[in-house]
C-alpha cells in the first residue's frame, strides 16, 4: 500500500513537472479562432481533433508527441497555412467542449494573435519600395493594416508607405505573414501577450483626459507667447509662422547681396 502510494506519488510528480514543460506554446504556433487563453485552453481542450477535421483549408493540425505544442491540441503556423477566416467559423462550431469559445460569432472578433512588422530593416516598404503585399492580402484591409505615408529621407524626395498594424482590427489570421515576399517574413503574427505592450494602470494620456473633461485639468489653458522679431507672428490655428507682408522687412531680399550686407552691418 505505502509502496504503491509512494510510487504513484513519485510518478505523478514526474508527469506533473513534465506537463508544465510540455504545455508551453512556442510563439509561432497559433491557436484556432475563439481559443480560450492558453492557461484555460490547456484544461478545456480534450484533444479530439474535431476542429482540425472541420477546417476546410487544412490550416489546423493536432500536435504530435515531440512537437513543441502540447500533444493532441490544435494549432497552426501562419507561414505554412494561415487562417482563411471562414464566416461560419466551422472549427469553433465543431469544438464539443467550448475550448474554442462558441460565443465567437463574427470571425472579425477573433484574436488568434497580432501581426507585427518585426523587421524594418528588410521590409521592402521600409526601403521605399511599393511591395504592399501584406496590406493587399489583409482580409481587413485599411483597418487591420494601413499604409502610413512618411518622408523618404534616403532619396530625399520620395515617400515611404509604412504598413501599420492596428490591434483593434487585426485577427491574427496570418495571411500577411504567409504572403510576405521575403525569404523570412518581415511581418509575423505573434501571440498578443508578446505583441502588445500594456500601459501602467495608473497612466493617463493628458490630451485624452483633457478632451474628456472639456478643458485642461491641471493649469488653465494659456497660449504660449513666442518672442518673435518684428513683423513676424505665429498662428496657433495651424498656419504656423507668418511674415507680415507690409512690414518692409523680409528675411530674404530679392538681391542676395543685400542679405549678406545686412548681416555684416548687424555685426557692427
Amino acid at each position: 500500500m505505502a509502496r504503491t502510494g509512494g510510487g504513484v506519488t513519485l510518478f505523478s510528480m514526474g508527469i506533473g513537472l513534465y506537463a508544465r514543460q510540455a504545455a508551453s506554446l512556442p510563439a509561432l504556433a497559433l491557436r484556432p479562432p475563439g481559443a480560450l487563453d492558453e492557461a484555460h485552453f490547456i484544461g478545456a481542450c480534450i484533444r479530439c481533433g474535431l476542429c482540425v477535421r472541420d477546417c476546410p483549408y487544412d490550416t489546423l493540425s493536432l500536435a504530435r508527441l515531440g512537437d513543441e505544442v502540447a500533444t493532441g491540441t490544435p494549432y497552426f503556423t501562419a507561414r505554412d497555412v494561415p487562417c482563411e477566416m471562414c464566416e461560419d467559423i466551422p472549427c469553433v462550431k465543431a469544438c464539443p467542449t467550448g475550448a474554442l469559445d462558441h460565443e465567437l460569432s463574427d470571425i472579425d472578433d477573433a484574436r488568434m494573435g497580432l501581426a507585427v512588422l518585426i523587421d524594418e530593416e528588410n521590409c521592402l516598404n521600409f526601403q521605399g519600395l511599393r511591395c504592399d503585399v501584406c496590406y493587399r492580402v489583409c482580409p481587413s484591409i485599411d483597418q487591420a493594416i494601413t499604409l502610413e505615408m512618411q518622408h523618404n529621407r534616403r532619396s530625399g524626395k520620395h515617400a515611404l508607405f509604412i504598413p501599420t498594424v492596428h490591434s483593434d482590427a487585426c485577427t491574427g489570421c496570418g495571411k500577411c505573414e504567409k504572403a510576405c515576399v521575403l525569404e523570412e517574413a518581415a511581418i509575423k503574427v505573434l501571440p498578443t501577450r508578446l505583441a502588445k505592450g500594456e500601459l501602467g494602470h495608473h497612466y493617463r494620456w493628458g490630451w485624452k483626459e483633457k478632451q474628456k473633461a472639456g478643458g485642461s485639468l491641471v493649469t488653465p489653458d494659456q497660449q504660449h507667447r513666442y518672442n518673435l522679431p518684428q513683423g513676424e507672428r505665429y498662428d496657433y490655428e495651424g498656419e504656423g509662422l507668418i511674415f507680415e507682408q507690409n512690414s518692409g522687412r523680409t528675411p530674404f531680399a530679392s538681391d542676395p547681396l543685400d542679405t549678406l550686407n545686412r548681416g555684416v552691418e548687424g555685426r557692427r
Binding site: M1, R3, T4, G5, G7, V8, T9, F11, S12, I15, G16, Y18, A19, R20, A22, A23, A39, H40, I42, G43, A44, C45, I46, R47, C48, G49, L50, V52, R53, D54, S61, L62, A63, R64, L65, G66, D67, A70, T71, G72, A94, C95, P96, T97, G98, A99, H102
Partner: protein, 303 residues
C-alpha cells in the same frame, strides 16, 4: 504439475478451432472495426466518424465523449458545452449497462498491443516479474484527477498512451510510438499484464462505471470444472474468476461480479467444459448451481 499444452488446447480439441476462439475473434473484429470507422475518413475520405476516442462525432449527429477526460476537464475548472456533456452521458450509460471494462477489451487500441506482448511473453516463457499492485491504477486515477484539479491542465493527456495511440493512428503519431513501445515492453518483459491489469487509470475509471453493470460472465456450469486452470491462465484479471468459479461452498453465486472483469470472453473460449457464458448479473444464487435463469436464457436466445 508442469503444463505441456498451451491453455485452450483442450478446448480446441473438443469444440473446434472456431468455437474455441470465437470471442477472441469477435473482440479483434470489434476493435479493428471501431478503429476502421475512425480511419475511413483520413484514409478514404469517408467521414462516418470524426475525431477520436476522446470525443467524436458520428454521422454528424451522434456525439460521444470520453467521460474520464471530460471529468478531468471539469476538475481543471472548465465548463464544457452541452455537446460534450451529452456525449459523455451516452458513453457512460452504455458502459453502465455492458460493463465499464468492455471498453478495455473491445474498444481500446492498446489492448491489441498488450495482448500481443502477453502472448509473446507466454510463448517465450518469460516469468520473472516486477511486483506491481493491481490497485496502483486507482492511485494513478486519483492522482490524474488531482493533477487536473490543482494544475488546471489535463496533465494525464500529456502521457496517456491510450489516447496517444488512437489519436496517433488517426492524426499522426510523432514520437507517440515510443510510449506504445514502452507499454509493450512493460507487459512483455517487466511484469505480466502490467499496463492494463495494474497501472492504466483509464481502465480503472471504466471499471468504476461497471460496478453494477448488467452484462456479466457467469460460471453457471461450474460443477463441470475440471481444474485445468486454462481460464486463470488466459484471464487478464485472474482474480475475478475465483469467487464465481470456486465459491459454491462459500455461498457465492456463479456470476463474475468484479468490476475489473473486462467481459473479454476469453474464459468462455478456452473452457473445454463450457463452464462460462455471457449472461446478466441477476439470479446470482449459490444454492442452485448451474440453474439457468430466465435472464441468461434471454441472452442465450440472442446469440
Amino acid at each position: 504439475m508442469k503444463r505441456t499444452t498451451r491453455p485452450g488446447a483442450e478446448a480446441v480439441a473438443v469444440k473446434g478451432r472456431w468455437s474455441a476462439n470465437r470471442w477472441l475473434l469477435a473482440r479483434r473484429f470489434t476493435q479493428l472495426s471501431i478503429l476502421g470507422l475512425f480511419m475511413l475518413g483520413p484514409w478514404f475520405g469517408i467521414w462516418l466518424v470524426k475525431g477520436n476516442l476522446n470525443a467524436s462525432l458520428t454521422l454528424d449527429i451522434l456525439p460521444l465523449t470520453d467521460p474520464y477526460v471530460l471529468l478531468q476537464s471539469l476538475l481543471a475548472g472548465h465548463r464544457p458545452e452541452m455537446v460534450a456533456i451529452t456525449g459523455a452521458l451516452i458513453v457512460t450509460a452504455f458502459y453502465l449497462l455492458v460493463g465499464g471494462r468492455v471498453y478495455c477489451a473491445w474498444v481500446c487500441p492498446v489492448n491489441i498491443v498488450t495482448d500481443t506482448a502477453h502472448w509473446l511473453r507466454e510463448r517465450l516463457g518469460i516469468t520473472g516479474a516486477a511486483r506491481l499492485s493491481s490497485t496502483a491504477r486507482y492511485w494513478i486515477l486519483a492522482a490524474s484527477l488531482l493533477l487536473a484539479l490543482f494544475s488546471g491542465a489535463l496533465v494525464w493527456e500529456f502521457v496517456n498512451p491510450v489516447s496517444m495511440l488512437h489519436r496517433g493512428l488517426i492524426f499522426g503519431m510523432g514520437l507517440a510510438w515510443l510510449l506504445v513501445l514502452a507499454v509493450f515492453l512493460l507487459d512483455f518483459l517487466v511484469s505480466r499484464r502490467a499496463w492494463c491489469g495494474h497501472l492504466c487509470p483509464v481502465g480503472a475509471f471504466y471499471s468504476l462505471l461497471g460496478v453494477r453493470s448488467l452484462l456479466r460472465v457467469r460460471a453457471d456450469q461450474r460443477e463441470q470444472c475440471d481444474d485445468c486452470m486454462d481460464c486463470f491462465l488466459v484471464c487478464p484479471e485472474p482474480k475475478v474468476i475465483r469467487p464465481a468459479l470456486k465459491g459454491a461452498d462459500k455461498g457465492i453465486g456463479p456470476v463474475i461480479t468484479s468490476a475489473n472483469c473486462t467481459n473479454c470472453g476469453r474464459c468462455i473460449d478456452v473452457c473445454a467444459k463450457d463452464v462460462f457464458r455471457f449472461g446478466s448479473r441477476f439470479g446470482n444464487r449459490a444454492d442452485k448451481p448451474g440453474q439457468t435463469t430466465h435472464q441468461s436464457l434471454g441472452v442465450e436466445a440472442l446469440r
